[in-house]
Amino acid sequence: MPNAQWRAFLGKRVLALVVLLLVISIGVFSLIHAAPGSAEQMLLSGRRPPSPERVAAIQERYRLNESFLNQYGHWVTRAVRFDFGQSIRTGEDVALALRERAALTVFLGSYAFALIMAFGVPLGVLAAVKRGRGIDRATIALSVVGVSAPAFVTGIFLLYVFAVILGWFPAFGAGEGFFDQLRHLALPAVALALTGLAPIIRYTRTGMLEALDQDYIVFASARGLARRKVLFAYGLRNALIPVVTAGGLILGVMLTGAVLVEVTFSLPGLGALLIESVNFQDVPVVQALAMLTAAMVITVNLLTDILYLFIDPRIRFGKAAS
């Protein structure tokens, strides 16, 4: 793809990303008005009784006396500098609170994602190659359980079996240092990975079965190419395209889906923060979290699209398959 075309593509996609974020930010901002009661009451509910100075300060900060549009404009200009104000619950700076909690969630999400890719793709390939045999059925069964068992349920089962009965893994805590974290977060990561495993297995298996059914596979075998080459260079290479889409979506789900797992395992990550804040109607924190995750998910989607260009020449050359 020529350089200019490449830049144009990237420019267009980034612009779309910004527009999307703006649309979402309007919704997120509106949350302070969506909560029951007036915005002032809500924003002041943490301390009582509110002094007149506090009321004035809040009104000044959120421009509550001005029009909705002005309020939004003011809010969004602060938001791009990652200034979301103070937490109602703790009075702490929101950005600071997020930074403290983010490391654990990102670690957990990436851990689960790595597990999914490391097990999902090979299992999908294996199931497709051994179609209809025991290993295929077992893999399908696993993926049905995975798609039917949300992380907060499997989490409890894993806790019970591996922490309560067998005692192999710690039941609580996030651990310190990389390897300790790896051990402490193993059960939460597995619980999280099980949900994302199902679609990856399913996409890999379906893609692989579809690819293996194609004429180019027969033709490659008919030329005497080694079975491994036929399976990977022809089969998996073609099957990989839908898997990449699914992978992108799942990375997004892993980063956001940590919420339930963190609650299940009592881990102090972003997800736990979200639930605490939501239950406390701590809107500034909720707003910051919503914007952060939306930005993460949309960025991952963009990266997926870019990855596509590298693996599918048909898109690179702007021509649909015949």
């Binding site: 068992a149 349920v153 909720v286």
Partner: protein
């Protein structure tokens, strides 16, 4: 068939001793849960009776699944909890399928401006992390079961819309649709008498698969304390309350968890089986 509802091929692959046994079992679970949802209160009339003196206890002859920390019978709560587990998802899938079918047909068959608008809307919804949106919106608006149901209808309808739109676009250029247009039949008749009957299998399968998703999403909200009110017997809520009792009465958490997985897995398998069967029936050679 579009990717979203592409069957896993389980029915075809025949786990174990053929589709009969497994699918029969799944149907049994689905129907059983439906019966509990309808008549649960007759079977276990008093799910909230407390016995603070006993408190939490493991399974016994009097309480087959033990009691929770307020001394309430876990089994009774499990039976009555089927109500909220079924009612919400039924509303969600039917509502979402209705919206999705109408918008999908509109976008796919009529096309033009309506297609662009609907597609943009669906794209926006896809860009959002659905589970998070549900948590944030339900949480900030103050929670509640039917609020959660309404939000989940809105969140899942773009999936149905995209599915129906894709299927419509696939059928639209087929000669039988074009022949109906050349006969001079009005657009509405072509859509309703020709297009829709060929989409019905897809819609039915998607309702079953969507049910499993709705069941789990709703349970997740209840688990986080955002769905049903405190004290209501509900599987998600029971899971949250029983979580701390793992050492004393594991059944208090594991039983509702197992019910969720069993029901969702059965729905998924039945949906998959239906998708396979129904799409085979009318398919051209």
């Amino acid at each position: 068939m579009s990717e979203a509802a592409a069957p896993l091929g389980l029915a075809e692959e025949r786990i174990g001793s053929g589709p009969g046994l497994l699918i029969g079992l799944c149907w049994g679970i689905v129907i059983g849960v439906m019966v509990l949802a309808a008549f649960g209160e007759w079977i276990a009339p008093n799910p909230s009776a407390q016995d603070l003196a006993t408190g939490v206890a493991g399974p016994s002859a009097a309480h087959w699944l033990g009691t929770d920390d307020l001394g309430r019978d876990v089994l009774a709560r499990l039976i009555v909890g089927a109500r909220t587990a079924v009612l919400g998802p039924v509303l969600i899938t039917l509502g979402s399928a209705l919206i999705g079918t109408l918008l999908g047909l509109l976008a796919g068959y009529v096309g033009g401006l309506s297609d662009s608008v609907i597609l943009r809307w669906a794209d926006l919804m896809f860009a959002l992390p659905g589970q998070l949106v549900a948590i944030v919106v339900v949480g900030v608006l103050g929670g509640g079961y039917f609020l959660a149901v309404a939000i989940l209808i809105v969140l899942s309808s773009p999936y149905d819309t995209r599915l129906i739109r894709a299927a419509t676009l696939e059928q639209r250029p087929r000669a039988y649709i074009e022949a109906a247009r050349v006969l001079g039949l009005p657009g509405r008749r072509v859509a309703m008498a020709h297009l829709l009957p060929n989409l019905v299998p897809l819609i039915i399968a998607s309702v079953f698969l969507g049910f499993a998703y709705a069941l789990l999403a709703l349970a997740a909200l209840s688990f986080l304390g955002l769905g049903v009110g405190a004290g209501t017997p509900d599987w998600g809520r029971m899971l949250a309350e029983g979580r701390t009792l793992l050492f004393k009465n594991p059944a208090a958490a594991l039983a509702p968890g197992a019910m969720l997985i069993l029901t969702a897995a059965s729905m998924n398998l039945v949906g998959d089986w239906l998708a396979e069967r129904l799409s085979d029936r009318g398919r051209a050679r």
